[in-house]
Symmetry: C2
Subunit: 271 residues, 2 copies
């Protein structure tokens, strides 16, 4: 299932700036029972991204398109791309900017249930995240770092890879955000310099606070990661995966990880 600007279509103009420069943003949305999960958070991030990149996107129109698309998809993943639309050669922005909205449907990912139940093994990616405050936090279409990082391992024993920044700080997974638990407190890396501010990360920070858990957004060194009581990764498709192993360090699934896993287990029936 593919729509371009709300109409079924398979193709896109070769002049689209999404192709030329990665000039756009995307969201990956879980669809359950015809409804997009965490839609408000997805659209908030998209709107912020559009504002920061200067893409004049009408979020109400996008909301309507994604709702209709999700109803038709019924079950699976709706990927939403907003590009700056077509342009002529050169970096200068088209005038007027006519953003393009692309929605793509895929089946739900088929992750082994053991990932959520027993935890995952993280691959230590050597590809580092560059520090670029102008783009940090956004889910933009410039994703070569993730492509290179994901290509580092083929062994299916690794469910995810851990990415660090140029100075060695722990930042996130290749397609997940990362949390650690230390002395009952929930910590997640700051994404002011690099990284994607995931909607599940936001949702978990919110729900943990509501449940009386102290939370902190901060820099996390490798030492701090290795000394954590619990570690987990998260995204809007799979929810929460406990981390069982990273290099030679091993963890058991901790109580706060289990609690948060339950809190976001069924967002569609428990919004």
């Amino acid at each position: 299932m593919c729509w371009v600007d709300g109409q079924p279509a398979d193709g896109l103009s070769v002049h689209d700036r999404g192709l030329a420069y990665g000039d756009g943003l995307f969201e990956t949305i879980k669809v359950v029972g015809g409804r997009p999960e965490l839609l408000d958070r997805h659209l908030q991030r998209l709107e912020l991204g559009c504002r920061r990149l200067g893409i004049p996107c009408n979020i109400d129109v996008v909301r309507e398109q994604i709702a209709t698309f999700s109803a038709e998809l019924a079950e699976g993943v709706a990927k939403l791309i907003v590009s700056r639309g077509e342009g002529r050669r050169g970096y200068a922005q088209p005038n007027p900017i006519l953003p393009r909205v692309i929605t793509l449907g895929s089946p739900s990912p088929n992750y082994p249930p053991a990932y959520a139940e027993q935890g995952v093994h993280l691959y230590p990616c050597s590809t580092r995240l560059a520090e670029q405050p102008a783009l940090a936090g956004l889910k933009h279409l410039n994703r070569l770092e993730q492509v290179l990082a994901r290509a580092e391992w083929q062994d299916s024993a690794y469910a995810e890879g851990l990415m660090r920044d140029m100075t060695g700080r722990v930042v996130e997974g290749v397609f997940s955000n990362l949390f650690i638990v230390k002395a009952g407190e929930l910590l997640t890396p700051s994404l002011e310099r690099c990284g994607v501010a995931g909607v599940m990360r936001e949702e978990l920070l919110h729900r943990a606070s509501q449940a009386g858990v102290k939370t902190q957004i901060t820099d996390i060194s490798m030492e701090r990661l290795l000394g954590a009581d619990e570690i987990f990764v998260c995204n809007s498709l799979y929810g929460v995966w406990p981390v069982r192993q990273f290099e030679t360090s091993v963890w058991s699934v901790g109580p706060l990880t289990r609690k948060l896993q339950r809190l976001v287990a069924d967002l569609s029936s428990n919004p």
Copy 2:
């Protein structure tokens, strides 16, 4: 004029990873009299980029396509995009990878002759280039930094913008490379951490050496830039533009700039 994989086409699959992740590379090639200028250098850079990104591209096929395309275009700009081709959702690479080759024709840019004759005024971009050695030098499709930098000025008094890295070193123009002349020596910034290694930069380094000019690839601080005897920017479309002004500093067009300008003025008749 648009071709996809050697066939006239306007559209591209919405599943192309060039759109999804900027997962690909491009070249912007000047076409004169049906012939692509500096083609060997363009294809060498493309081949290096494909190797570094792990895109199994047959450069001989690309060479043939761009030659045929240029013959048909006759005059103007041939933009060549090589993407990793179609893929399903997720960063993991498709298996097999079937790269896609897109060629787009545009008219020659219509720059005022004064840019080359009297020199240009550079805009001081505040968007900084992130340091990412894994991607440095490549002309890849992740170009949001250039999009943001180019959006900083609308005033046509500025022909180009100067970009620096996160630590303040001078790196390049938004769509050009940069050279300075100091005491008869030609210097250009190192592109090991960020920046695009332009084919005109390579050509100029080569021709300057051949002409007995001492050349150096090195870090260039703002102080060094401001203390230069001559400054110019270059790319494969316009050749060489002397820099006349940057902020409050003013230069006249120097003898080495003029000499190099002449050396690359007519690459098609003087290969």
